[in-house]
Symmetry: C2
Subunit: 216 residues, 2 copies
Amino acid sequence: MPRRSYDQYCGLARALDVLGERWTLLVVRNLLLGPQRYSELLRGLPGITTNLLAKRLKEMEAEGLVERAADESYRLTPLGASLEPAIHALGRWGWRRMGKPTRRDRRNLDWLMVALRRRYRGGATLTATVEADGSPYHMVLRGDRAEIGRGAAPASDIRVTGTPDAIARLFLDTLPDVGTPPVVSVDGDESLLGTLVQAFSRGDDEPEERRHVRAG
Amino acid sequence: MPRRSYDQYCGLARALDVLGERWTLLVVRNLLLGPQRYSELLRGLPGITTNLLAKRLKEMEAEGLVERAADESYRLTPLGASLEPAIHALGRWGWRRMGKPTRRDRRNLDWLMVALRRRYRGGATLTATVEADGSPYHMVLRGDRAEIGRGAAPASDIRVTGTPDAIARLFLDTLPDVGTPPVVSVDGDESLLGTLVQAFSRGDDEPEERRHVRAG
DNA sequence: CAGGATCCGCCGCGATACTG
DNA sequence: CAGTATCGCGGCGGATCCTG
């Protein structure tokens, strides 16, 4: 039973044959931060339904994008992980035309962390653990490489804890109440907080209008 | 009547809200080489139906991706053209896992030319006109910039003519009958043909080795 | 003939209920 | 927890039909 295809000898069309169905790239996005179980994926992809997630995971497994780990969780194969540049290119385009979140928009630190993988400017060296609502992330910066994923870092130079909103506002200036500083608590070397935030300051995914104003 | 949205405050999800519908990115791909009229787009996107193309073009115009030129043709806006990096990232991923064309695959020099925009390795300086079946393309290489689009170059250093298959085989080694050299006719400085082809030699979109696709 | 619009049938998708 | 089963709707594909 062949899947629907564009039947075009073109790299883009071939990629879309595999990735173009609804939710597929968002599943890859969520798995970029580490393996997840079915129920975790279901929670991390608000709006998807259980039948569709099951169908997508089967298709993606058949295409070699994901595989089952020993503990039954789903993880990206090297082929699936090699989609990260494409996800970042699309994400950069999307972020550039994104304003404040609407009331309908769901927010999630996973998606912010994926964006931060892309936005890392390099030049920092530190190991951080960032945690909100009991869900920690590790952020290991070493020169021009940033390794970001779920789970605390084994040995952090700095540990930042706060509400998801506060953590998000630490790195994004497109969120409401930007005037007031986000309230987070910091353990470890507090002087590294500035380094951490600066390392992900907004660059080429600035919104269009500001770019043009500043470009003058 | 709002379009279907993932309602996620995430750059990728926002991008897919706009680009995720079927055919949208392929329309952008075809317009990267220059403006086209409705009937030209219809011919250049085999498989799309007239109603769907009309619908997509309206949506894309509403989203600011395309606009109508003075001669009624459709062309990319700066926002639409800014999708080129994302299209190249997806295209590179698709080309890497693409083998020989199947019997169902349609082939088209437009799609090859878009791939060549991405594959340009830099370091060449020449102006070429490549033509097949009466449809010319200009390829203007200046150092690290390659400008490729529909229409002949006003003053070409070299002019290459042949069947679409011969032109394609000039740049691709994944096509059948690779053993025999493609038959093209060259006008102008024939010594530039090697430079032209080498400038687009396959690099990081090489196909994956078989180890990833191990059939049981 | 270019540039669409209209109609119809199917299937991908979304929502809910159910099962091992 | 990890999926299946069922059902209704809307997006999509195919063909046809207008309109300058």
